[in-house]
Amino acid sequence: MNLTGRHLIDPNDFTIEELQKVIDLGLDIYNNPSNYSDICRGKILGTLFYEPSTRTRLSFESAMLRMGGSVLGFSDSNTSSVSKGETIADTIRVLDGYADVLVMRHPREGAPKLASEFSSVPVINGGDGGHQHPTQTLTDLVTIQHYRGKISNLKVAFCGDLLFGRTVHSLLKTLSRFPHISFVLISPEQLKIPSHLRDEIISNTNVEIIETQSLEDHINEVDILYMTRIQKERFFNEEEYVKLKDSYVLCKDKLKNAKEDLLILHPLPRVNEINYDVDSDPRAKYFEQAKLGVYARMALMALVLGVI
């Protein structure tokens, strides 16, 4: 099982054993950070952020800096040669000579895959449109393993925008490959998961899926509640966004019937889908989840760079 030189574009690019290796290493780095503080000395991370993403970009940068490496790149396509009309293929062919590993965030779906076809160094998908976000999935898996000790026998609810929510797509695809997982998918009718994704999960696994519009009806039975933001930027029609944006708001009151060991996760940033009164609830782990994301990315980069 060797991840050196590998791209991570889609969570399915890695086997469950390979994902588990990243998760275990991430938690080991979390518990023993000083053992890993110098392993990437001399290595450079190239960050190609074609759309704003403060959290993911800073999480990657923090991860590389915590391992003693360096970072270069752009966080706004308007200030790079991209604004002059340079293609992804050309940008990548140049930048893979400057960096040892690249992370790409792009508003277009499939852009990181295209980048990987022209890159001689590993390309990591930092989120592409409403498609995939595999390093958020690694973050989510590390968080689940950290708080649950294992990733199996879980009933997981996803709530909010399941149509455009790339973090949902990646995590759904990935969790469905772990043992004894079932899903409750809570969304307005207009934001249900893409049919191709549902068909793929159903045809590849025996996962039980409940699709509903009611959070209240199922909150008492789930082990993990994964809340998501309804993203304005994914809508072509603002009227539709305004109609749907407040579909689900999690508040302290709604958690009354939830399990005591429920894990409330959110890829962040949130807008108003989780009330501030939930933050103090011990079941709310979204800020810890963001912190663990740095360790997940450290593990991933260390493995694809082959420094461990």
């Binding site: 992804i88 277009r108 499939g110 852009a111 449109g129 409403g130 498609h131 049919s195 191709h196």
Partner: protein
């Protein structure tokens, strides 16, 4: 009754669903050939009721993938000395590259036009193709 003579040497594209013959004719750019070509439309057929047929008095390179994509019921007959020497069935191709565009407006292939979109036939689907870049399903329409 309309009578069209058989060809001595060439290709007969048979069992085309009625109405698709003209589209195939255009898609394969058969109007640009210098050899005799015949398009027969609404011919009586035992199997299909009505069918279209294309006869080409020569051998040309036929893209069987595109024919399979358009109509998997098509049969290709290779004719030598007035005889059928080979019959080829076309199939819905499992993989398709560059023959049509992904329908997803957010797909990178809709912007970076130097990329040839690649598709795989979706599981449990007879017509829908999954984009290898964005994974959206697109149904090929002629």
């Amino acid at each position: 009754m309309l009578k069209v003579t058989s060809i001595e040497r060439g290709i007969v594209i048979d069992h085309i669903s009625s109405g698709k013959g003209l589209k195939i004719f255009q898609k394969l750019s058969l109007d640009k050939l210098n050899t005799p070509v015949v398009l027969l439309m609404n011919v009586q057929s035992k199997e299909l009721g009505k069918k279209d047929i294309i006869k080409i008095q020569d051998f040309i390179d036929l893209d069987l993938r595109i024919l399979g994509l358009i109509d998997p019921n098509i049969t290709i007959n290779i004719i030598e000395k007035d005889q059928i020497v080979e019959k080829k069935k076309v199939e819905l191709p499992q993989k398709v590259k560059g023959l049509f565009q992904c329908k997803n407006p957010r797909c990178i292939t809709s912007i970076d036009t130097y990329v040839e979109p690649e598709f795989t036939l979706a599981k449990n689907s007879r017509r829908k193709y999954k984009c290898s870049y964005c994974e959206e399903l697109t149904e090929y329409k002629l």
